[in-house]
């Protein structure tokens, strides 16, 4: 097991280094760039050149990369040019991370809490209207653009019914103490229940919007996996033992059906990061995704670099965790 983890971590390091080169090269081959973002209509070749020289962007790519690596080794990933100008890019990422963790966590929770039971029910009633309806619902969820979902959600829940806030992370005027940067958690830690509740209300709509895709995927995998498991001989054995349907469902069907679902959940973390880009922008939710969107629009290279690499690392780590979890829940791997 330890060998496996070490192996994966080593592989991750290789991936990160290769990826850093790719990302570095990629960003610098993009048309436009931070200079045009800074200068706007006032851009002239002269001013452009001056700014590029000041920022070291006129040097050959390998030199730039070498400098970047040198600084990176010293824990300095360059300063943000636009997202939070002057701030170290890694700090920008770290300061935005709690918001995204909070959001993705709730989104994943929703996706799981809805996807798995619904997947199970759909599988149990394969071919029924419930099943077909759920399948179509999940497909529609995937196909509807986030901005549209978000618009409808905000329109109905926030504007029309005034139940939830439209956007942001906390209402203006709520005076909350910051501890972890995850507002809901902070409120709980400092016993500022109102602040916590307020932050939670802000989380609901964006996490629903963000949850649509993972929900659809988890739902479909659960459904397929439960269908497979229901066909297995051991379920028939369990039936033949006269076990109650609760035990059969929990111990025999779901426990096995959850194995592929676990992997899927890990894979969805990557998708969640991608989804957060749109969702966070649309909900003015100041997280990593919002930073990524801003950084891309404004060509904030240092921040982009850190965010993409961080996303890759998170993705690999989460999948490593999933693999470990898989090994823990699947004795066929654990006891090998």
């Amino acid at each position: 097991m330890i060998r496996f983890v070490v192996r994966r971590l080593l592989q991750m390091c290789v991936v990160v280094v290769v990826l850093s080169m790719l990302v570095f090269g990629w960003l610098r081959s993009l048309p436009g760039g931070p200079v045009s973002a800074m200068l706007g209509e006032r851009q002239t070749p002269e001013r452009r050149a001056a700014l590029e020289a000041a920022l070291g962007l006129d040097q050959p790519l390998p030199v730039q990369y070498a400098k970047f690596m040198e600084r990176a080794v010293h824990g300095n990933f360059g300063v943000s040019t636009k997202v939070l100008p002057g701030e170290d890019a890694l700090d920008v990422f770290l300061s935005r991370l709690p918001a995204t963790i909070e959001l993705s966590f709730l989104a994943m929770l929703l996706a799981i809490a809805l996807g798995i039971p619904l997947g199970y029910i759909a599988a149990r009633r394969q071919g029924s209207y419930v099943d077909t309806g759920a399948v179509i619902f999940s497909l529609v969820g995937v196909a509807v653009p986030v901005f549209f979902t978000a618009f409808l959600l905000k329109y109905s829940f926030a504007v029309e019914w005034n139940l939830l806030p439209v956007s942001g992370r906390q209402s203006t005027g709520v005076d909350a103490t910051r501890v972890t940067g995850m507002f809901v958690l902070d409120g709980i830690l400092t016993r500022e229940w109102d602040a916590s509740w307020d932050a939670l209300k802000h989380l609901i709509l964006p996490s629903v919007a963000l949850a649509t895709i993972p929900f659809a995927v988890i739902f479909r995998i659960t459904r397929a996996s439960v269908l497979d498991v229901l066909d297995e001989d051991y379920v028939r054995t369990a039936e033949a033992k006269g076990l109650t349907s609760r035990v059969i469902r929990g111990r025999h069907v779901l426990r096995n059906a959850m194995l592929p679902v676990t992997t899927t959940i890990g894979l969805q973390v990557g998708g969640l990061l991608a989804g957060a880009v749109l969702t966070e922008s649309v909900f003015s939710f100041r997280g990593v995704g919002d930073a990524l969107a801003t950084a891309f629009r404004e060509k904030d290279y240092p921040v982009l670099q850190v965010l993409i690499l961080a996303a890759a690392v998170i993705y690999v780590l989460v999948n490593l965790l999933v693999d470990i979890a898989y090994a823990v829940i699947d004795p066929r791997i654990r006891t090998r």
Binding site: V15, V18, L19, W26, S29, L30, P31, T132, V135, I136, L139, V140, V142, A143, V144, P145, F147, F148, F151, D228, D231, G270, G271, L273, A274, V277, F296, A312, Y315, V316
Partner: protein
């Protein structure tokens, strides 16, 4: 009293039977030519309502796309309703006789644009999937057929590509292009599909490689390339074809997302649903129907392909033939 202990009788009994076997073997194979797996899958599919719905949607979509320019009531580049457009009071002209769904913000007939929009959507979906398929097939075949370090190398590349969320990857590729066009869009989506197809095909090829019928062909002395192309590839294609159907749906959705983000064809003369959706964004508060129609079209078409793909998958999956 049985014949068991009487060899003579037994032989004649056996002989009688042998004759009958041949007669029977002949009798039970009717004269009509054989039905391939595809045909027998089709027989099952024909009765599957989900498949039929998917097929109906898909066929309707393809036919519409083919004949759209001829049946569209208005020229999609003309702006017959432009006079009615007022940015504040009437940004999007409503329905009126002759304009079923009204116009868009340029006074162009919305219905006609929706109809004709199916073409580019289809082109992007089909070509992106086709290119992705070609790329994936090449990589997958190389990896699956050669195995060894080639396989490892190809699969590592595929892993890296797969570890980037697909839309992000497509976005990256598309943004690399200096000038967005329909083709950068197609390439971007195709590249995202490549690793999926490659991995799928390679898995299936490996399974085929160790399968008995490939072993049989090897033992017959069939040339290696013939084994790859006659036995392994065709049999490994099943899941790939299913995936291609599903990919069409994904390609259409991705294409819509990318052109929605402004990475699609910048030329508005030819309408495209994703682009229409992107343009509609500005009117989301005042004229949500502008977003609703193209979004609806994308959803329905994606649904059509997905339903078809899913039921195809089920039909071809031996496990589901209960």
């Amino acid at each position: 009293m049985d014949q068991t202990d009487e060899p003579t009788r037994r032989t004649s009994y056996g002989q009688r039977r042998k004759d009958r076997i041949d007669a029977l073997a002949a009798a039970s194979i009717d004269e009509e030519p054989g039905i391939s797996l595809i045909r027998s899958a089709w027989k099952r599919l024909r009765r599957n309502p989900i498949f039929l719905v998917g097929l109906a949607i898909t066929v309707a979509f393809v036919v519409l796309a083919a004949i759209a320019p001829w049946i569209a009531p208005w020229d999609v580049t003309a702006s017959p309703l432009l006079d009615k457009v007022r940015p504040q009071t009437n940004p999007v002209p409503g329905p009126e006789p002759g304009h079923l769904l009204g116009g868009d913000d340029r006074g162009r007939d919305l219905f006609s644009r929706l109809l004709v929009g199916s073409r580019q959507t289809l082109v992007v979906g089909v070509f992106a999937t086709l290119f992705g398929l070609l790329g994936g097939l090449t990589l997958g075949t190389i990896a699956g057929a050669l195995g060894g370090w080639v396989d490892s190398l190809v699969m590592r590349i595929v892993d890296v590509l797969l570890s980037v969320p697909s839309l992000l990857l497509a976005f990256t590729v598309a943004s690399l292009a200096r000038e967005p066009s329909q083709w950068t869009l197609i390439i971007a989506i195709a590249i995202v599909q490549v690793p999926i197809f490659a991995r799928l095909l390679r898995g299936a090829m490996l399974a085929q490689r160790s399968s008995d019928h490939v072993l049989a062909a090897r033992s017959l002395g069939v040339r290696p390339w013939a084994i790859v192309f006659r036995h392994m590839l065709p049999n490994a294609m099943g899941p790939v074809i299913v995936q291609a159907t599903l990919s069409l749906a994904v390609a259409i959705i991705d294409a819509a997302a990318l052109s929605f983000l402004g990475l699609g064809n910048p030329d508005q003369r030819q309408p495209e649903w994703g682009q229409m959706l992107g343009l509609a964004q500005r009117y989301i508060s005042e004229a949500p129907h502008l977003a609703f129609y193209p979004a609806g079209c994308i959803i329905v078409v994606a649904l059509g392909f997905t339903l078809m793909g899913e039921s195809l998958r089920e039909a071809l999956d031996p496990k589901s033939r209960r």
